[in-house]
């Protein structure tokens, strides 16, 4: 087998694996609440793409230039292992963006229509009421005599399940 010329080790799939793991690891950022999360989503996708480039390069080297590079089997194994985290982060990116737009939603400067909805005790609460007083909903004593809030921050969320 050894013919005097040393074949090079194929490091590309290892880089592929590393980038695939980093791509998936980026999702941890969403649990710890770091800033620039929007950038992190794109970084995650970018790392998955870089991983894919390394994996393809690794496969090409292993199968098209076997006289130069060692490790066909290892390359295939690493590629298969790497595809899972890389694929998951790409799928996560696509899945998380399956959201309807909000172009029709009230924009800055527009007046919000009023509403009345039940609070956790089933008591109806209107936007006017929320804006009018420091209601019983907030058990804390109001700070520095500010009885009426300057504004209400409405946070619509998907629900708890």
């Amino acid at each position: 087998m050894p013919d005097g010329t040393q074949r090079r080790s194929n490091v590309a799939p290892w880089w592929g694996l590393l980038f695939a793991i980093v791509a998936l690891g980026c999702n941890a950022a969403f649990f710890v609440g770091v800033p620039f999360q929007a950038a992190v989503t794109w970084l995650s996708l970018l790392f998955a793409a870089v991983a894919l480039i390394f994996l393809v390069t690794g496969l090409k080297r292993a199968f098209r230039q076997p006289e130069v590079y060692r490790g066909k089997v290892l390359t295939v194994v690493l590629t298969v292992i790497s595809l899972l985290p890389a694929g998951l982060s790409a799928l996560g990116f696509v899945g998380a963006r399956k959201l309807p737009g909000a172009t029709e939603a009230p924009q800055v400067g527009q007046k919000l229509p009023d509403f009345t909805l039940a609070d956790t005790s089933g008591k109806p609460v209107s936007l006017d009421q929320l804006l009018a007083n420091s209601s019983s909903a907030s058990p804390r004593p109001p700070s520095s005599g500010a009885q009426t809030p300057k504004a209400v921050l409405l946070i619509f969320y998907r629900g708890y399940w």
Binding site: A102, D119, L154, I155, G159
Partner: protein, 105 residues
């Protein structure tokens, strides 16, 4: 959110959470998570629809829910700041919302 509540109060802003969850479910959430700000229920997505932030069949069993959205509304009900995320994983952070809150006059 909850641990920045004092900051929001100091800025004169009252946070209010709204979802399609019923009052009982929201009460469970508030108890478990220790939330003291108001949580309102819009089970039929009436207000969510009125505000055009409905995510049709977005819920786990295919029911209609709200897409994540934040509105800062002043005392004349004029919208002063909004946030509509394009990615479920990216939510408005309390810090960002406080910056908007403190800009209010």
């Amino acid at each position: 959110m909850e641990n920045r509540l004092a900051d929001f109060e100091a800025a004169g802003v009252r946070p209010v959470a709204i979802s399609v969850d019923g009052p009982e479910l929201s009460r469970d959430l508030a108890r478990k998570a220790g939330y003291t700000f108001p949580i309102l229920s819009d089970p039929d997505a009436v207000v969510i629809r009125r505000y055009h932030i409905l995510h049709t069949a977005g819920g786990p069993d295919g029911h209609d829910i709200a897409r994540p959205a934040e509105f800062l509304v002043d005392s004349s009900k004029i919208v002063q700041w909004t946030n509509f995320t394009e990615d479920l994983r990216v939510r408005a952070r309390a810090d960002e919302m406080l910056v908007a809150a403190r800009k209010l006059r």
